[in-house]
Every structure is written in C-alpha cells, then in structure tokens.
Amino acid sequence: MSEASVGKPMLPVAGKPPAGPRVSDGSNIFLTTKLDRLIDQARKNSLWPFPFGTACCAIEFMSTIMSHYDMSRFGAEVVRFSPRQSDLLIVAGTVTDKMAPVMVRIWEQMAEPKYVISMGACACTGGFYRAYHVVQGIDEFIPVDVYVPGCPPTPEALLQGLLRLQEMIAAGETHYQRMVAAARAKAKGAVS
C-alpha cells in the first residue's frame, strides 16, 4: 500500500490471480499493508476503556455499556478500572482542581498507545461551571483526541465519539500516533 493511501480505510489489494487451477486455501488472495497499519486496525477494534467517571456523565456512560446501547458492539466493552490494563481514558464528568492531579496521574500510568475521549461539556470546557474550583476543560492538563459535547451527551453521542476515535486510530490521527510520527521523522532527519 502506498504512502499516499494512509488515512483511507484499508482495503484488500488483490493482485493478479496466479495462473493455474484455483485453490481455495486462501493462498491466492493476499493483502499488503504496513505492519503499523495492521496493528492499528487491531487496536481500534479492541479498545479497553478506563471510565474516569466523576459526575452525571458517568451515569450516561453506564447507560452506554448496559444492554440497551451495548458498547460491546463496537469492540470496546472490556471496561477496566486499572489504568495499567486500559488504553482509552474516557473522562466522563466535571473535573475539579482537587481531582485534576488524580486524572493526570491515571493518564500517566496508562501504557502507550493511549487515547483520551473527553465526554460532556464539563470535561471539554468546564461547561456551565465557570467557577473557582472547576477545571475549564481537561485539555489544560492532558491531550484529548475526541471531544463529545452535550450535558450530558446521549449514549448515541458517546458511541459516535468512539467510532470517530476508531477512524482516527485507523488513519493515524490520534495525539499519540502523531507524536510517534513526529519523533520518527525527527530521528530520520537526524540520521540523514
């Protein structure tokens, strides 16, 4: 797959079928891609969220993982409460100045690659709590990949946010992937 197609959904590239009788063991269908892209495909479909639920949005997050909306349809149902076991931080709810160091600590403890969804108006911007004890958007402290607006967002909105994150992972657009790409480009420049 050429460099130019990065960012587009990965499609199987069928080569010319080999001459001779067709065999059905799959050996005549092949697919070319970069190893990184293949791994990204795997990663995007098996996100393990850490629900950093602090307020009302946590209740809507609960709705999203329950049977009615069922987030497991999108490969992200393995909710883990240990930052060491998860790669997606969903900040659901208001983060206060008292809570911010806790959030940063958890984000730091997560193993890379890691992604962040900011769920709800409070996490995105502080929402309508423009006051002395409320963080005015978690991006004051940690990088955010997807902002899901709403107060609180409906489960559909959170699912859309999740799908958007999956697209971004496939396209290499998340904060982590861009950071890695930039570091690689820099290293390349240093060598040549």
Binding site: T54, E60, T96, V102, F128, H133
Partner: protein
C-alpha cells in the same frame, strides 16, 4: 411543623432576651438569634429536654453579610422527630473574632457541616475534633462563599499538598508486632462510584481506623447560584443528585414558591408527583444495582437498568433530556407533557414490576448476598438520628421519618402509600427498604395518574412565569413582562425560607435567602447524603475491607449532591 405556642413559651422562659437570645419574628420556622457563649448550653438543653427533644441537627450553614458589624451568621436547623417541629438558631460572629463553639459534642451531625462552614466562610469552631477544609483542596486560598471572593479565582492543587489524615504516616503495630497498613481507597477506585476517597488503617484485613475525604466534585453550586436568576438555577439543581434530577428541581422550586407565596397549578403538581416518584425509582435502581455489582452480582443490574432506560424515554419525551431534564420551573413546569403521556406511564407501571420481581428473585433470598450484607454496616436508630441521617438509610434503622408524611407537599397527604421501615439497620435492611420503596412509588404514580386532569401547567402570575408565547407576540403588556423576566429575572420578596422535600436519599433542604433581587442572596443546599456519608468512616471500624465496599454501595452516595 412549627413549635406549639406553649413549647415556644417555655423556650422563651428558659432563655429570655436577658440571656442573649433574641427572637426574630415572622419566619417560616421559629427563629432565635443566640449569643455564641450560650450556644453549648442551649444546644444541650434543646436536645435533652423532652419538651423540645431536638434529636436531629438537620443542617448548619453560614451566611455572609459584609456590611454588618457581626459579619457572619452561622445558621442551625434543628428538627424533633417526636414533636415534628423545627427550630432555627442564628449565631452572629464578627470577622476579626470568627470563632463559634462546636456542637459536635451534642450532635455528631455537626462534624462535616461545621467543617464546610469553616471551609467556605473561615469561621472556626472551637472544640471541633478535625477542623480542616472539606470541599476545597488544601492549596486553596481564601474562603469561597464570602461575598468578596471572586468566583473566577482558581487555585491549583500543588504536588505534595494533597490532604491526608493526621494518622496516615504514623507507624503502628498490632499486638503480634506486625505493622498495620494504611490503604487508600479512591478517589478513582472501581468500587467507589463517584469520586470519594477513604483512607483506612488495616490490621490484616480488618479496618481499625478510617477517614473520608470528599470535595472531588465540588462544583461551586452555591456560589454559582448567587450569580444566576432564580429560574437559571434549575439546571444546576438537576446536577446535584443526577440520578434523580427531577426531584432536586421540585425541591428547589417548592422552596422558592414558598418564599414567593405562589403555588403550582394542580396539573403541574400531579405531573411533578408522577415524575418525582419515577425518579425515585430510578435512583433506587442505580443504588441497588451498583451495590449488587460491587459485591459481585452483575446480572440483576442488567435487569433493572432496563427499567431505567424505559423511564428515561418518558423523561426525554417530556423534557427533551434523558438525565438532567430541567423540566421544573418556579411556579409550575416548563411545558406540558406530550400526547400519549398517560399511556406511556401506564406502560411503565406494567413494565417495571416484573423487572423488579426478577431482581428480587435473584437477590432477596440469595445466600451469598445475605451473608455479605446481613449484620454488616449496622447503625442503631439513635446513632443514625445523631448523625443526621434521613431517607431510606434512616428508615432501615427503624425510624419512620419521611417528609412526604410528616410535612406533606404537592398533596402527598392525599395519596395512599406506606413508609417501609426495617429494624436491623444493616446493609441488607437498606436494600429491602429501597426495594419496597420502589413498589410504594409505583402505587403513588398509579393514583396520581388517575388525578391527571387538563389544565394550566404553570401559574399565571406574570411576576413569576413567562406569559404564553402567542400573547407575547400580540400584546404589549405580555411582551414587557416577558422582557423583564428574561432580562432581570423574577423578583422574589425579601426573606428567608427553609424548604425541604423527601429526595431519593432523604431530606433535601434548600435554605434560601432573598434580598428582593433577581437572584438569591444565599442559597444553601442541605444534601441528604452529606449527613449520611459522614458516619461512614465510623461505621467501618471493625469491619473487613471487603465489607466497606458493600456498605458504601448501600448508602447511595451521589458525589454531585455530596460535594455540590
């Protein structure tokens, strides 16, 4: 509700004005201004004298009057369960000498309430065992609810300044000379729903000492409400107890309506009852489900959560939002319920009982659950009252206190329902009480539905409610009222009121002070789970670490309401 004349008279005789007790007439509750020196004696007498019998301290809060010589008022709300009467005490102190004797020795409920006043106003309480900030973080400078504090002024919590109990660093050995361990549960812990932190000292697996830290979700509700018009506060009240948002709005609107002297029309009252009771069911479902989930039973949560989704659909049809619906307005409701409302409620009445039955079949006689919860987290009735407990937790200890029965509002006295109580006061009892309350709430909804008659849904008092849109576009006067209400907000007459309702967790109070302006001078919320949670560290002592999770789930601590 208020004290009988003879009791008031005997109070006046015992504490005449010459002793520094001054009566403030014309209040919703008998109110006395008290010199601080007299407070300990007065408090002790009010609690122990069977004539007064104020066994419960509902609320303590502060009020700032910057232009006064004695700048701060510390306001106490007392309640007597036996006489069903209330009393308000005000203790004025000056800024230079802002010290009040603590009443922790009389009512343990004062513990966190006094700490909150200290945090927010800087009033110190002499004799308080653990006086430090409670809602704001330790790096915070100043006192946020003082009138001269700029609401936009933030302080970052610096590294190494996090709060920790005074005993957390002590090295202690048990009798076998093994070192005891200090363990930190939360604020982000799989079993602490919401943002709570408990620090426990463990001897093996047994908790020997515990302390809680809260305030991780302190969203400055009371400060924000001083900056908004009366109706703009309703979205903020929704986010107090977000599991049952409707009930907070109703409680707040009732308090303001009391101050205004208006009443919502009958149709609005019936809709408020229906949606409040459905919200109570939702709240209990989350509490029970989360509690079960924590002790290892995932399946029942999946069953009952479906009931919640069904109620959400109804709320969404009424108000447009699922969770935080902002449906109440002072004087009525934002808009009428949609077509098919009655049919939808009838569907819920058919749909919810089987789901609850399913859950009960799985849990109520389940041996594992009973062994995990029976005898765990026991609190006697006297202790529970002393801690200021209300709601299902208090009723599980055997005290039949329910505001809907003792001080009915929205016509609750005309509905036929029972107040379920249990006697053991343990985690299992709290589960049983909640399940029965779900059934009683359904009974109320059923009766309310029969009374739903057509009519207006908001008062026609144009000082309070917006005029109908068609009039705004056709009549000059209506346009002016609309403009004034939107730009300035409604004007609430000068005065103060303590409005209280039965929230899902207990007595939800709004102590409201108006100076006649378009927004409250002071709005204090008395959150039920604040009082409940302060007993939690004391209940833990002697229990196993796994029990602490079972107990926590049964108390239904909602961080939004706890920290405001």
């Amino acid at each position: 509700m208020s004290m009988s004349q003879e009791k008031l008279e005997s109070f006046r005789r015992a504490f005449p004005p010459s002793r520094g007790v001054e009566e403030i007439p014309g209040q919703d509750i008998p109110t006395f201004q008290v010199e601080r020196e007299l407070l300990p004696e007065l408090a002790r007498r009010l609690k122990d004298d069977p004539d007064f019998d104020f066994k419960m301290l509902s609320d303590v809060c502060g009020v700032d009057w910057p232009e006064r010589q004695a700048r701060f008022d510390v306001v106490y709300h007392l309640y007597s369960l036996t006489h069903n009467h209330r009393l308000r005490l005000k203790v004025p102190v000056s800024e230079q000498d802002a010290v009040v004797p603590s009443v922790y020795g009389v009512w343990r409920a004062a513990d966190w309430f006094e700490r909150e006043v200290f945090d927010m106003f800087g009033v110190r309480f002499s004799g308080h065992p653990n006086l430090k900030r409670i809602l704001c973080h330790p790096s915070f400078q100043g006192h946020a609810l003082r009138k001269d504090y700029d609401p936009g002024q933030r302080w970052l919590l610096r590294e190494g300044e996090q709060d920790e109990p005074s005993w957390a660093r002590e090295v202690q050995e048990d009798e076998d000379h093994f070192e005891t361990q200090v363990l930190n549960l939360g604020p982000s812990h799989p079993a602490t729903h919401g943002t709570l932190r408990t620090v426990v000292r463990l001897d093996g697996e047994v908790i020997t000492r515990a302390e809680c830290e809260i305030g991780y979700l302190h969203r400055c509700f009371e400060k924000m409400s001083e900056r908004h018009t009366w109706n703009q506060i309703i979205p903020y009240t929704d986010r107090l107890n977000y599991c049952s948002a409707m009930m907070n709005g109703v409680g707040y609107a009732l308090a303001v309506e009391k101050l205004l002297g208006v009443e919502a029309p009958p149709r609005a009252q019936v809709i408020r009852v229906i949606l409040s009771e459905l919200s109570r069911i939702m709240d209990h479902i989350v509490c029970i489900g989360a509690n079960l989930n924590d002790v290892g039973a995932m399946t029942p949560f999946l069953y009952v959560y479906q009931a919640r989704e069904e109620i959400y659909s109804l709320l969404e049809a009424c108000a447009g939002g699922r969770l935080t619906i902002s449906y109440v307005r002072v004087g009525g409701l934002a808009n009428d319920v949609p077509e098919g409302f009655e049919e939808a409620v009838r569907y819920l009445l058919r749909r919810i009982p089987p789901l609850v039955d399913d859950m009960e079949r799985l849990i109520t006689e389940n041996r594992i659950f009973r062994q995990r919860t029976e005898g765990i987290g026991k609190l006697s009735a006297a202790e529970a009252v002393d801690w200021g407990w209300t709601g299902p937790c208090l009723r599980a200890s055997g005290v039949p206190y329910d505001v809907r029965k003792t001080n009915p509002y929205l016509g609750y006295e005309t509905y036929d329902f029972k107040v379920p109580i249990a006697t053991t006061g343990d985690t299992y009892a709290r589960y049983l009480v909640r399940v029965e309350e779900i059934r009683q709430s359904l009974k109320i909804v059923e009766q309310a539905l029969k009374r739903l008659a057509p009519g207006p849904i908001i008062t026609d008092n144009h000082h309070v409610a917006l005029p109908p849109k068609e009039k705004v576009y056709t009549e000059m006067e209506a346009l002016i009222w609309h403009f004034k209400l939107i730009m300035e907000g409604m004007k609430v007459p000068k005065g103060e009121v303590y409005g209280f309702t039965e929230g899902a967790n207990g007595e939800l109070g709004f102590y409201t002070i108006s100076d006649g302006g378009g927004s409250p001078y002071r709005l204090h919320c008395r959150p039920p789970c604040f009082a409940v949670f302060q007993a939690y560290p004391h209940m833990l002592e002697g229990h196993m670490i796994a029990d602490s999770i079972a107990i926590l789930g049964s108390l239904n601590i909602i961080a939004g309401e706890l920290d405001r």
